[in-house]
Structure formats: structure tokens, C-alpha cells
């Protein structure tokens, strides 16, 4: 029992250290990686989110495949010292704080959404999009919900937009739904690290461009979406949307760039590179190498953990 508890503490400490190191690495390199993939908004959004989430996934992966096995296979009966305990406690605190932040924010978002939903009625037959009574503070078009997101449309937006504009605007929100952007926002909220704000902002911008690109399938759609953006921007007061929600004019400062991008839309631009094609060869080379040297990697991890702790 004590051994399992010790392994957990070591794993948490290892996770915390690797998470911080990978986060620092990402902070140093994300702008360069972003520059390489600016041609397609969909690719940019994926890369930026991948980079932001990389420290969390990378440290979890390293902990599960290296730190824990190394501890179970190579650790003797020696007791851990205060250092391990501190690192473990630090990691628990970091992610405990993240979880607390998520829960508190989610509670306030739920309250806000419950207010919006009062008097809501279906707009479409499939009831995916709801139309709401216009209320103070209600954004004209918003995607709410993390696991089962839904699109809310205010009555003002319904009266303001033409049917074509409304169709493509709702499609934009559906693209956010398809990319699970609200869930992504929640994950990022729960994995904080100082200095990551600019990367998160860049990802949000790219996610908006990506949803625009994906929602548009011809030039008419692009013009309709641009017109909808302008009309709704005229309407929206300067206010922030609640966390874990996405609005059509979420980042109002982006409207200028988004409209110009949409007006310059062409079929060729709508296509995006398949990122996995880039990473597949690297993965195929790295996998056999990792298997061949797994034992060595465990030894190094164990020594590194011991050195770090002692």
C-alpha cells in the first residue's frame, strides 16, 4: 500500500516537472510552428491547440509510459524524501486549482445559459438551433454547452439576418460544435500555465477562421457570412461571452480580418493540408526505435527522477 502511494507521489512530481518543462518549451517555439502553417486556418487551429495541449498530454504520456513503470520495476525499498512529497503536492495543487477553476466557471456559465434559455423555442425542425426572446446581454448567436453543445439564436438576429445569412451563420457555429471548441476551451481552462494566454488567443482566432472556412462552400456563402458578421457586430455591445461558449462575433476585433478573408474566399483556399501526413513518417520511424530502447529509457528516467529528487 505504501509502495503504491509512493509511486503515485513520484508520478505526480514527475508529471508536474515534465509539464512545466514542456510548457516552457511550447512557449518558446509556438510562434515559429504557427508561422509554418498559416496557409490554412483549419491546420493553424489544430496545430495551435495541439501545441497548447502538448504539455498536458506529453507529461501524462511520459508519466504513464516511463515514470510509473520505471518506479515499479527499478525502485528499491528506499523511502522518498521531502522533495518528492513537495513536487507531488505541487502538482496536485496546480491541477486541483485548475479543476476548481473549471467547476466555478462552469457553474457561472450554467447560470447564465439558464437565464438565456428562459422562453426559448426551437427555430429549426431538428431543434438544433433555438431562438430566444431578446434579453439584455444575450449574444445574437452563440454556441453553448460542452458535451452536448447547442446553438442559440436571439430573435434580434433572426429579424436582422436574411435566411441565407442565418443559414451560413448557424453553420459557422455548427463547425465550432463539430471541432468541439467549447470542450477544448474547458480543457485549456483546467490546465493553466503562466504565459499561455497569447497562445490560447491565437488558437481562438484560428478557430474562428477555421469555422468560417469550414462553414463556407462557395463565394455566395462567404459573402452571406461576411454580411452576417457585419450586421451582428453592429448590434453587439462591447462585452465578453461567458467561458466555454462561442459566439459568431466572439472576438469583435477580428471582424475586420474575418470579413476581408471571407470576401477573398476561393475554392482553393478552402482546402487544408492533412497534418497527419506530416507526422505519420516521424511516428513510423520513432515507434520501433522507442520499442527497441524502452529498457534504456526506463533506466534514464529512473536515474533522472532520483537525481531530481535527491
Amino acid at each position: 500500500m505504501m509502495f503504491v502511494l509512493r509511486s503515485l507521489i513520484v508520478a505526480l512530481g514527475f508529471f508536474g516537472v515534465v509539464y512545466c518543462l514542456l510548457s516552457l518549451l511550447v512557449l518558446c517555439v509556438w510562434r515559429f510552428a504557427y508561422l509554418l502553417c498559416r496557409n490554412s486556418a483549419v491546420s493553424s487551429a489544430r496545430i495551435l491547440f495541439g501545441l497548447r495541449i502538448f504539455p498536458l498530454l506529453g507529461s501524462a504520456f511520459a508519466t504513464l509510459t516511463l515514470a510509473l513503470p520505471a518506479f515499479f520495476l527499478l525502485e528499491g525499498g528506499m523511502d522518498e524524501d521531502m522533495g518528492t512529497l513537495l513536487f507531488g503536492a505541487g502538482t496536485v495543487l496546480l491541477f486541483g486549482a485548475g479543476l476548481f477553476r473549471v467547476l466555478i466557471t462552469q457553474a457561472s456559465v450554467s447560470r447564465q445559459v439558464a437565464e438565456w434559455l428562459e422562453g426559448a423555442r426551437p427555430l429549426d425542425a431538428d431543434a438544433v438551433a433555438l431562438t430566444l426572446e431578446a434579453q439584455y446581454g444575450l449574444p445574437p448567436l452563440v454556441l453553448y454547452g460542452v458535451l452536448t453543445p447547442r446553438v442559440l439564436v436571439s430573435e434580434i438576429a433572426v429579424s436582422l439576418l436574411s435566411p441565407d445569412e442565418m443559414r451560413v451563420a448557424v453553420k459557422h457555429e455548427m463547425e465550432h460544435m463539430r471541432s468541439r471548441d467549447n470542450l477544448k476551451k474547458l480543457i485549456l481552462h483546467g490546465a493553466p500555465f503562466p504565459g499561455m494566454g497569447s497562445l490560447e488567443r491565437a488558437w481562438q482566432e484560428a478557430a474562428e477562421f477555421a469555422a468560417d472556412e469550414a462553414a463556407v462552400s462557395n463565394s455566395d456563402d462567404a459573402v452571406d457570412l461576411a454580411a452576417a458578421l457585419i450586421k451582428l457586430c453592429d448590434l453587439v455591445p462591447v462585452q465578453d461571452l461567458p467561458a466555454f461558449t462561442t459566439g459568431l462575433v466572439d472576438m469583435t476585433a477580428l471582424v475586420n480580418v474575418r470579413v476581408r478573408r471571407l470576401l477573398a474566399w476561393n475554392e482553393h483556399k478552402g482546402r487544408h493540408a492533412r497534418l497527419w501526413l506530416w507526422f505519420a513518417p516521424i511516428f513510423l520511424i520513432a515507434l520501433p526505435y522507442a520499442f527497441a530502447h524502452y529498457g534504456q529509457a526506463l533506466m534514464i528516467t529512473h536515474r533522472a527522477t532520483e537525481w531530481f529528487i535527491h
Binding site: 455566395d220 459573402v223 461576411a226 457585419i230 457586430c233 462591447v238 476585433a253 471582424v255 475586420n256 476581408r260
Partner: protein, 144 residues
């Protein structure tokens, strides 16, 4: 005249004293005045130097402009009563930016908020959309 009185409340937001408000209203009414003309037209029961100092203060606050007219200055308003809220906003934002020290973050946030709601920008974008719509329509008609 109603318009001028309506601006009374707004003027208190730029922190004008009663004399400053009164003189500013006179300048708005007469478009451009020297100290002497102001004293005659406005029937102000104040000393020449008091009015001159007040006009100078309004000039320094950016509410009045002045040009030489013989040996005296001729004062004219830099803004209409309707523009006072804009001036209030600029003054407040300037104070706010100054109070935030060297950090560039508040400034960028401000630029973001302003640029998003810049009416001229939205008009320009609206024109671009209409032009694009017309262009697409023409192209479709050509194809038919």
C-alpha cells in the same frame, strides 16, 4: 439653444466650472469671439482678465482653438456640444492609459474594443460586401 442646455450635464463630466461652462456656451453660440466681443455679446459681469484667463484655461483643456486677431486672440470651439461625449471619452481613456503605467496590455485591449466598434470601419466593410455581391451577381448573369 436647447441643445446647449442639454450639454450642461455632459460638460460637468469634463469638469468645467460654472464660469467655464457659461463662456463655452457663448463661444458655441457665436462661433468665434475675442475677449472684448465676448464681454459685450455675452454681457458677462466679470473682469476682462477673469474672462481672458478662463478662455485660456478652456484653450488648454482642448475645448477652444485660438488665432491671432490684431493684438488679441480670437477663440473658436474645437467641438460641437454633440461632440462633448467623445471628448469626455478621450479624456477618460487617456487618464486610464496613463494610470496603467508601462504595460501595453490595456492599450491593446482598448484598441481592440475601439476597432471593433469603429462605425466607419463597419461602413467600409459593408460597402465591400455590397460590391462583392454585385460582382457575383454580374458574373452569374454573364454565365447565363
Amino acid at each position: 439653444m436647447d441643445k446647449l442646455f442639454a450639454s450642461e450635464v455632459r460638460l460637468t463630466e469634463v469638469r468645467l466650472g460654472p464660469l467655464e461652462s457659461r463662456i463655452l456656451r457663448e463661444v458655441w453660440l457665436h462661433k468665434s469671439l475675442t475677449v472684448r466681443e465676448l464681454m459685450t455679446n455675452g454681457k458677462l459681469p466679470f473682469a476682462y482678465t477673469t474672462v481672458m484667463t478662463t478662455l485660456d484655461r478652456l484653450f488648454k483643456k482642448g475645448l477652444l482653438d485660438r488665432s491671432e486677431d490684431g493684438k488679441a486672440f480670437r477663440y473658436s470651439p474645437t467641438c460641437t456640444p454633440a461632440e462633448v461625449p467623445r471628448l469626455v471619452a478621450i479624456t477618460r481613456v487617456r487618464r486610464w492609459i496613463e494610470s496603467t503605467g508601462s504595460s501595453s496590455l490595456p492599450l491593446s485591449c482598448f484598441v481592440e474594443a475601439i476597432s471593433a466598434h469603429d462605425a466607419r470601419l463597419l461602413d467600409e466593410l459593408r460597402d465591400l460586401v455590397e460590391r462583392k455581391r454585385a460582382e457575383l451577381k454580374k458574373r452569374k448573369e454573364k454565365n447565363i
